[in-house]
């Protein structure tokens, strides 16, 4: 497990920025930035990531607060769904040609 970015001893901590492009969509990761506190992180995020109307809402999260899965464990960690094609509708072919199914 590790956090992205926030291992440095810079003057200001690192924040991850999430932007909602328009109502009805999820907030998506846009990038990161430095700021002394949450309020300035929000303002900096507005200036940095929404100069061309890219968003209607912003989240900022301290990078050090994010926990990520271990990339080296990738195969084992994501093992469970593999080989379980029956979890997809495309697995069921016998209904081919039947309407509204």
């Amino acid at each position: 497990m590790s956090s992205p970015g926030g291992t440095e001893h810079d003057t200001w901590p690192l924040w991850e920025v999430f932007v909602r492009a328009s109502r009805g969509l999820s907030h998506l990761h846009a990038g990161s930035l430095h700021a002394p506190d949450a309020e300035l992180a929000l303002r900096n995020a507005r200036d940095l990531y929404t100069r061309r109307n890219e968003g209607v809402s912003i989240w900022v999260v301290p990078s050090s607060e994010i926990t990520t899965s271990d990339p080296d464990e990738k195969d084992a960690f994501f093992e469970s769904p593999k080989g379980k094609r029956y979890r997809h509708a495309s697995y069921y072919t016998e209904a081919e040609g039947v309407k509204h199914l």
Binding site: T11, L48, P71, F77
Partner: protein, 322 residues
């Protein structure tokens, strides 16, 4: 791959094999993946240099904001210079994912240890230079940057996608400035031509030395950081700007330019690489001014950074106490 890999750290050999596999499959390397030290170092050098170029690049244009000839041009130029600042920040963030601190990068720039693009060490004495920077300098930058959107390092590629989207307005506004001057009075036309005469060769040199003299290129291409050679990109740029200069009604200061039917490209003349190396070594027209200005801005901002950090610390303490 449905291998049943146990969850312990891979040996270095296995990690390298996995890295090579990802590169070969044209997939992306992400920050927490294992990567060879040399790959990490190359990326830190390239991305931080790129970031520094954006930040230093604000200066030659910024000095025209108050003197731009109309409110519209002032607003456009401000938006453009603000974009350059933004591009610098996207790239610093990308470099940071490789383990270098922001403060360290700033220090390396100010101390002269880190490099930035030589093009920003030229002066901008006339308004037409703002046109030439947009058309030629940003045009060359776009040629370089579009293939970087597919760079093998994920955060770098993503930063470049965002930058390329924004950069196209920069090139067009520069072209428009030159077009208006070229179609204006004789004095305006001459100003545009004189400016293009000065920027043409330095813009072509932005692609870096000829392939035969570019020692790091082969490795960067093998790692898929770089996708095309310096000379290939330079040729692509020449092929673009020759017809564009005709639309502008301006000439390019290179008598060797002519269409080569056989190659299917425009030929162009030799460039003065001694000049390029001089500027690179810090002996260009404006090297010391650019660094001095950056250092001064950094020093002048010190109290703001400290005050904001102190305020945040106090707020945190109060929040904890209550």
């Amino acid at each position: 791959m449905a291998k049943n890999t146990p969850s312990f750290a891979l040996s270095e050999q296995e990690a390298l094999a996995r890295f090579d596999e990802i590169i070969a499959a044209d997939e992306r390397i992400e920050p927490s993946d294992w990567m060879p030290d040399a790959y990490r170092k190359t990326l830190i050098r390239q991305i931080s240099q790129h970031a520094h170029s954006e930040i230093i690049g604000m200066q030659p244009e910024g000095n025209w904001i108050t003197r731009a000839p109309s409110l519209k041009r002032k607003a456009i130029l401000m938006a453009k210079v603000q974009d350059e600042a933004g591009h610098g920040l996207y790239l610093y963030s990308a470099a940071q994912t490789l383990g270098i601190g922001r403060d360290q990068m700033t220090e390396d720039l100010i101390s002269g240890k880190a490099k930035y693009s030589s093009i920003f060490n030229y002066h901008t004495p006339t308004w037409a230079d703002i046109g030439s920077i947009g058309w030629l300098v940003d045009g060359a930058a776009i040629c370089n940057q579009v293939p970087l959107c597919r760079a093998s390092y994920g955060p770098y590629g993503r930063a470049m996608v965002r930058i390329c989207k924004e950069e196209s307005f920069h090139q067009r506004q520069g072209f428009e400035i030159l077009l208006h001057l070229s179609r204006g009075s004789k004095a305006q036309h001459d100003m545009a031509q004189e400016s293009v005469n000065r920027w043409y060769a330095p813009a072509l040199m932005m692609f870096g030395p000829p392939d035969a003299q570019s020692p790091n290129s082969a490795q960067s291409m093998a790692w898929k950081i770089k996708r095309f050679s310096n000379d290939d990109l330079r040729q692509r740029f020449v092929d673009m700007i020759v017809p564009q200069s005709e639309v502008l009604g301006l000439t390019l200061p290179d008598r060797a330019i002519r269409w080569n039917e056989k190659r299917g490209h425009f030929d162009y003349g030799d460039l003065d690489w001694d000049e390029f190396n001089e500027v690179l070594k810090g002996r260009g027209p404006a090297n010391s001014i650019r660094l001095e200005r950056r250092k001064q801005a950094h020093d002048d901002g010190a109290w703001v950074r400290e005050a904001a950090a102190a305020y945040a610390a106090r707020e945190n303490k109060e929040a904890m106490a209550s």
